[in-house]
Structures are given as C-alpha cells and as structure tokens.
Symmetry: C2
Subunit: 404 residues, 2 copies
Amino acid sequence: MLKVASKATRQQTKLHNSRLILKNVYARGPISRADISRLTNLTATTVSNIIAEQISEGLVEEVGSVSIERGKPPTLISIIDNARLLIALDLSRDDFTGAVMNLRGEILAEQSEPIYDHSTRNCEENDPLTTVYHLIDSLLSETATNLLGIGIGAPGIIDIHSGIVRHASNLGWNDLMLCELLLERYGLPTYIVNDNQAVLLAEHIFGNYEETPDLIVIRVGRGVGAGIMFNGQLVHGHGSGSGEIGHVVVDESGELCRCGNVGCLETVISRPAIVKRAQEIARNYPESRLNEVAGSPESVNIDSVIQAINLGDPHLTPLLQDLGDHLGVAIANLIGALGTPRILLCGSVAQIGQPLLDIIEVEVQKRTLNARINKPKIDVIQSKPNVVLLGAAASLLSNELGLF
Amino acid sequence: MLKVASKATRQQTKLHNSRLILKNVYARGPISRADISRLTNLTATTVSNIIAEQISEGLVEEVGSVSIERGKPPTLISIIDNARLLIALDLSRDDFTGAVMNLRGEILAEQSEPIYDHSTRNCEENDPLTTVYHLIDSLLSETATNLLGIGIGAPGIIDIHSGIVRHASNLGWNDLMLCELLLERYGLPTYIVNDNQAVLLAEHIFGNYEETPDLIVIRVGRGVGAGIMFNGQLVHGHGSGSGEIGHVVVDESGELCRCGNVGCLETVISRPAIVKRAQEIARNYPESRLNEVAGSPESVNIDSVIQAINLGDPHLTPLLQDLGDHLGVAIANLIGALGTPRILLCGSVAQIGQPLLDIIEVEVQKRTLNARINKPKIDVIQSKPNVVLLGAAASLLSNELGLF
C-alpha cells in the first residue's frame, strides 16, 4: 500500500531528481538530455541544470553526439566510471578481503589479510577489528581521492539500518557498531549488509537477475543462510537478521552449533557437517569412491564428495538424500510463506547440482500446496569469488548515490 | 532497490497526482488546498484544478473554513464518505456474506447466504458461484448507483494479480477466473484477495496497525494461514498463494488434509483438529473439566477447550503443549527467514491467549537465533466479525482509488 506522502523540502526534491537522473544515466547512458527528460518526466530545464551540476562535480561527461535527420544532433551524457571510488570489504571468509572499486563494481586494487595470523603473538594483531583497520589503511594508501565510502559484507546478524553487527560468532563480535567506528576513523560513509544479502544484491544488480524483484539466494557452504528480496527490496529483518534459515533448529537432539544453539540446520548440511559425515563413510566403506577420489578418508573434502556422487557412489546415497530432504524442508517453509519467488542455490555444497536439485524438488512438491499450484523455479548457480565484495559495493552505491 | 523510472505519460502523471491528492484528503481531511500542496509538493494550480475536478465528480466537498489571523480563511476540503459505494464479499465462512460499504468501510447493508442450502435439491442452487451471483444480485437491488466495484476475500490459493482462484478445496474451485466472470456479469471492476490477506489488510488499514509496515497475521481457526506484509506491501506469492503455512507438511505420517496432502500443519492445529482431540480427552477422562464445561464429550467445542484450559485442566496440558510447539515451529521458520516483524495471532484457536503465547515464545526463543537477538512481539488479537469484508474493501479502494 502506498503511504501518504509527507512534505518534501526543496532540497529533498532536488536530491531526488538528481539521483533519478544519475540512475538513468548510469543504467541507460550514453543518453541525451531529451531522453532523460522523457524517461524521468522532469522538465528540460531541470534536467539541463542538474546535468550541468553533475558535470561540474565530475560525475558525468558529454561523450559526443548522435546524428539525426534534422536539427542539432543531441549530445550524449555518460557516467564517468571512475568518477568516484569505493572500498568494499568481504569479512565472510577465513581471509578478510578488501578491494578498491569503481562505480561499475570493477576492481582496481585488491588485498587480503588473514584474521588470525599465527606468526604474530600479539593479541591485538589477531583481533578481527584490527585486521579491518589494517586492510582499509592499506587500501587507502593506494587511493586517497574521490572516495565515496565503504561497503561491507559480513557474516552474522547485521542491523543494516544502524550499521551494527548484532552477532557474528566466527568473529566474536556482539553489538559492534562497526559503521560508526569506521565513519569516525576514516570520515567515510559506511554501510554494511550480511554476506548472504550481499550475494543477493550482487546477483540482482550486477548479475543475471536484474529483472527478478522477488528473489531468494540460499548459500550452503561453510555456513547456511539466505538473502531474500521482495518487490526489489532487501528483506532486512528489523535488526534481527533475515534469511537466517541456517540457525533454525531442525534436530533438537542434534549437535552444538557455533551460534550456541543445538541442532540448527547448519549443523546438519553445512560444508563442515557434510565433509565430516563423508569422512566417516570413507572410513567405514574402504570401497567407497571417496577413497579413490581423495586418497584417504582424512583427505575427503567437499570436492571429493561431489566427484564421488557424480561417479554414482552408492555409499553416499543416504548423505545426499538427507541433505536434499533438509534443504527441501527449509525451502518448503519459505515457499509456504512467500509463494514461489525465484530461488538460487549457491555455495560449495550446492555445487552437487542436479542430483541435489532432484531430491529438493520432490521434497518441495510433497510438502507444500503452493509448489503444486506453480512449480517453483530453483537453480544452482556458481557465484563469482568477488560476489560479496560486489554486493557490499552495491549497498553503498544504492545508499549514497541511489544508483539502484 | 529503486528501479529506473520508465516514461510516464501525461495521463499517468495526472492520475498519479489525482490519487495522491485524494489519498491526502482521505487520510488527513478536512484539509486546505494549501496544506495539500505542501504535503504533496504539487503546485497550488495543480491542486486547485484537481480538487475542482474531484468536486465535480462528487468525490470531495468544501466543508467550511478555518479562521486564521490575517487574510482570507482557507476553505477546507473533505472526502464525501458515501461518494462511492462498493460491494464486499467474504467467502471464507460457512455462510457467504456480502455488504454494501462506503469509502470508510462502513457497512450500509449486509446479507448472508448459506453455500449449501439443503432445503433445495437443485444442484445449481447449491453451487458456490451461483450463491455469489445471488448475493451480489440481491445487494445490487438495494444499491444501483455510484458503485465503485467489488472486493472479495476468499479462502484458498488466490492469484490476486489475475483475479483467479487457483485452488479452494472447500468451494471445489480450481482455476476459477472469478474476477473476470464478475466483471463480465456486472460491469464492475473486481478484486480478490485471500481471506488471510484480507485480515492483514483490514488490521493494517482500518485497525491499529497502520504504522506497522512489516506485519504478519496468523489465523488459526477452521483453517490455518497467514497474511504477510513487507514494507507496507502485501506479499502476493506470485500466483501460488502466500502465507500458506497451514499447508506445509509437519507430520509425514499424519492425517489426510482437505488440500489432498498428508500431515499439513492444519491437520494438527486447526479448530476441527483441536476439538476432535479434546473430545477424545473428554471421553477418556470423565473427570476432565471439559465435561463439566461442555456437558458431554460430544458437546465439546473450541470455547469449552478454552474454558477448561483457563480452569487449569491438567488433561489438556499435552494438547496445549503440542499446539504451542507446532505454532512455535511455524513462527520460528517465519522469523528465521524474515527477522522479527510484528506478529498477530487471531482466529478461534488463538483465543486461548496467554497460556498459548507462553509456549510459543519459549519455542521461538529455543529455535531461532534471530529471536534471541531481538525478542519478537507476538500478540493475540480478536478480529471483528466483518474483518474479511473490510480487507476485501481495502483491496478494492487501494486498487481503484489508490487510497492506501
């Protein structure tokens, strides 16, 4: 439902119009002032004035003209891709990764730093926050001008509106006001999203799902979680996280989860859980293809599991069935609540691919009325390694420039 | 994320402005033209022209003026509540109910008709669609002028965008193009929402939750289902229904559900399921307070269950615990995915109230990480009997006049 419009000040209107124009130049440029006017419904004068300002700010430029039959050929306006740079951080891996990116999400510089550098004994050196500082300091030393801000993708429960990490078990962070700390230290506007939300944004904005406003990305890798978008808007979760399907209990007598709970979905289907179970299978069944592929039970990793499944190893059937059933139930719950948005599976475990999808689809059909009405479209995708960086950048570009 | 604005024609702009003004008059009237101009950021001339049109269309009227210190006192504009009437239908009960309503959702006339009239043996007479026609014919005979359209709240899986009932087991409807049929028969624009979505809209628009853009209403009565709103927008479910948590399987070896599946949540916690189990308890334990309250096991209904729970009948403890556990798991799944929106429970079973909420809260805390970060706010509400009619009206008023 539309809300009653509240009073917009002249400044707000101007900012709104300026963003609307920039967004159109970004998405459709090179584009003429006349076309911008038609697309935005703003007057020619307003468009000309704002474009003049954006040229003087070095955000856009004139890039030649098109030839038309009669009259003066209109000049085309284009965004300057490197007009502003940003720093994007991915804190969801064993190594923190940071990059300097331009307005198109192209990486100009990239650095990684391990969170726990065992070569140093200095506690402070090992602290994840210190690592974040090091990483940004180092990236800033290369790029000191035209900086728009900092975008972060981090694991755990994130309050994206206040920029607070409410809970990140891996990093030992609780109620860390990360964005405020970075704003104070660097004077740069800073935005943070959960790593799964970052993947969702990256796939929606820089990937193949721009035209998919209702989208769920489920990552099954070291952790298990989802990014959920409805009507082109990120489901933020009111500061309590969203898409935390990996930390809903599915086995009350299950194993202790790193979140402190017992029997979360993550304890059953995450990469570590799957690999652990596969190693046991390799030990119990010397004839398993796992041993052939990995060399020894201890060397079994997620790639060996995928290879052995593709080789048709019957010893892996129960593992695969359990994995598919559990994912199927989780997806059935999402579909029961949200209908049939587009669903993408990614992460190392999801790369099992079709054999996994087959089981999930049966489970989802069996468990929900909605899926029998419209067959849901579920696919496995292989995200780029820099996908969290891209999503973090998208969050910043959206908040600061209104580009998406 | 904002989408790139596409070209708006002059007509679209005018319609948009006209709706924006009407919405402000509806929500904030009596209001002066100057205040409308400030609130909408439209020019004084545009506001005056559109108000003049709306006066000539009989939608709004001048209702006197306010005294100000200096200058001409501004005239106030108000909506004419009965300017347009609408027909709202509630097809979610044993008796179909219809009402003539005004723009404020006030009922001017109301009628009910049983779906299955056993006094007639004519099959056609018993047909739900024929009953819908009868009901509308009869309401129209009282109100033939100024009709805006028809709004419907119906059970089952509804494709609200195409106006098709995809599946309504109670009514035997599958892929019934109800809105098109009614548009053809009556020449009136017709909109349909699922009954749970109608309750959500009614509580959000006409109830106490106007300022709650992220809202879930869960109904536990004859059926089990939810209406879900994110960012003030109804989660529509892409034609496959949304909020169908009652038809997600929770017990694979459970009972046959009316949807054709086995062991849906509805087969465990709906009013019929709870009453059936309570009747068994009454039979097995003659000393149960159920028998005292209801007179006999056969007379036990949901009110007797609630009374006996309030009297502290220990024989009902396992029933209450199971009900709370199952609802708790369903809510935990919603919270895991969507964070902590405001959650309202309604329907006859939910009226157990606090003893039920206590169990749900424990279960939700135990099962989700999100709920440990922010305690979710879950309440039991008692919806008005006409709540589905109100929601159906809201859907029509929103679509036709853009009032919400």
